[in-house]
């Protein structure tokens, strides 16, 4: 997993810094639901978050966004990349960082190979087992008047009782960015992934509902199972990518659920110890 964290955090010698104080709020859900969501449930974005595409908050089209990699870096540690097919692609490069920052990047801590992947990266999201997740993304809370700005959100899904979590969510910005860019990136972070975040407000509805439904009498009696088969042999369009330079098991296309299975397998292993 370190290889991938370095790829993002070591993009520049100076790295990233936390902006301000964390967003903190309670959600009545099991902690594994958001952890698994960030582990790489990209399938939900095109339906649950469809309004984000409708109002233009996200600068990558739904189809283009599903192109990319699912990476089972280590058991339970996974990352999902929305990545352009080649460097000629007109979409965001380096997660949408503006040209004046890209020009000043000094990637002394990562290899050329890592840097070239970063060049094609549009969005990356992942979970470090058990309950620390991250998302690196360019978004805007006001598409007509503000261009998308890139920020990194790191969040802790802290269990605080049965089916209740406290979310601790930090927003990070590139250290070498101007104060003006840092402020805007924070503003877009607060507008999209936070207590009030346009993206995140929609997530906070199914998470409690999934937690409730999964433990309901009907689910128990009918031995209800969730279909987690995407990416298994012969199921879905996902294919193993054996040429990817990074470590771990890598799949092409983000229509794949092995990342969630990796998270839950690790949990099952830990809980059985």
């Amino acid at each position: 997993m370190k290889w991938y964290l370095d790829l993002m955090l070591g993009l520049d010698e100076e790295g990233w810094e936390v902006y301000g104080d964390p967003h903190r709020w309670f959600i009545h859900c099991n902690w594994k639901i958001p952890a698994e969501n960030f582990a790489g449930d990209d399938y939900h974005t095109v339906y649950l978050h469809k309004s984000m595409y409708d109002v233009g908050v996200i600068p990558v089209s739904p189809d283009a966004n599903m192109f990319g990699k699912h990476i089972h870096a280590e058991p339970g540690h996974t990352i999902s990349f929305s990545i352009a097919p080649d460097t000629e692609d007109p979409g965001p490069k380096f997660w949408g960082l503006p040209a004046d920052i890209v020009d000043r990047l000094r990637p002394t801590k990562i290899t050329k190979e890592q840097f070239e992947i970063a060049r094609r990266a549009r969005i990356s999201v992942g979970t470090i087992f058990p309950n620390l997740s991250f998302l690196l993304i360019p978004l805007t809370g006001d598409p007509k008047n503000r261009p998308p700005a890139t920020y990194l959100t790191v969040r802790q899904w802290q269990p605080s009782g049965p089916d209740r979590i406290e979310v601790w969510s930090w927003i990070l910005v590139p250290k070498i960015a101007s104060q003006e860019f840092k402020q805007q990136a924070y503003m877009e972070g607060a507008a999209t992934f936070s207590t009030s975040g346009l993206f995140e407000q929609d997530d906070a509805v199914p998470w409690p509902a999934i937690s409730r439904t999964a433990r309901a009498a009907f689910a128990r009696k009918s031995q209800m199972k969730l279909n987690y088969q995407m990416g298994l042999e012969g199921i879905s369009v996902a294919e193993l990518d054996k040429d990817f330079p990074g470590p771990g098991v890598v799949y092409n296309s983000r229509y794949e659920e092995g990342v969630q299975r990796s998270f839950l397998k690790r949990w099952a292993t830990e809980i059985a110890r």
Binding site: G20, W25, H28, S51, K144, R146, T195, Q201, D202, A204
Partner: protein, 183 residues
């Protein structure tokens, strides 16, 4: 020749001196606003906002008294202007805004209204207490949000508009699943 101060005084008396009449107008403004929000008439709510509105909900911190007022200086649950508030409203009107579909039942209780002259002649400062009840779905839980509103209302073409709102929450950790609602 009239001094600037005197001129300002004359303008104030013509515009937004805090008279009983203005106080009554403010109460009506806040009650109308609460009704629009609770009835889900967000487009009409936007009509109450000034073009240059600043709308902020700073993050409250639990710190010792000597550390200051207890609010983050640069971090917010919401930091909005006219454009971004419109995006929030327009999004709620799409078919896929699951955060509020089915919608919450909200009840804005606005009380302890205090009015004083603003920094500009056509503005007044209004403080009020906000108690917000929120009920969602068919689950047994309900949620409360409590805080103080610090508003600036401005006279535009005869009508009052919301020029600035700062909501000072009483909660450090927000006890609702999201702020997909307006405070």
């Amino acid at each position: 020749m009239i001094s600037k101060e005197a001129e300002r005084g004359v303008r104030m008396s013509l515009e937004l001196q805090v008279t009983n009449e203005v106080y009554r107008e403010v109460i009506e403004f806040l009650h109308t606003e609460a009704e629009l929000l609770d009835d889900g008439k967000f487009r009409q709510w936007l009509d109450l906002l000034d073009e240059r509105i600043s709308y902020r909900v700073p993050i409250r911190l639990s710190r010792e008294r000597t550390a200051g007022p207890g609010f983050s200086e640069n971090s917010h649950h919401m930091i909005e202007d006219r454009g971004s508030l419109e995006v929030r409203v327009f999004r709620l009107e799409t078919e896929y805004a699951w955060a509020e579909d089915p919608p919450s039942r909200t009840r804005h209780f606005v009380s302890n209204i205090r009015v004083e002259p603003g920094d500009n002649a056509d503005e007044i400062k209004v403080k009020s207490n906000l108690f917000l009840y929120r009920d969602r779905s068919d689950t047994p839980e309900h949620e409360f949000i409590s805080g103080e509103r610090r508003d600036v209302l401005a006279r535009r073409d005869g009508a009052l508009k919301l020029r600035e709102r700062v909501v000072l929450l009483d909660q450090t950790t927000v006890r609702t699943l999201n702020l997909a609602i307006f405070l």
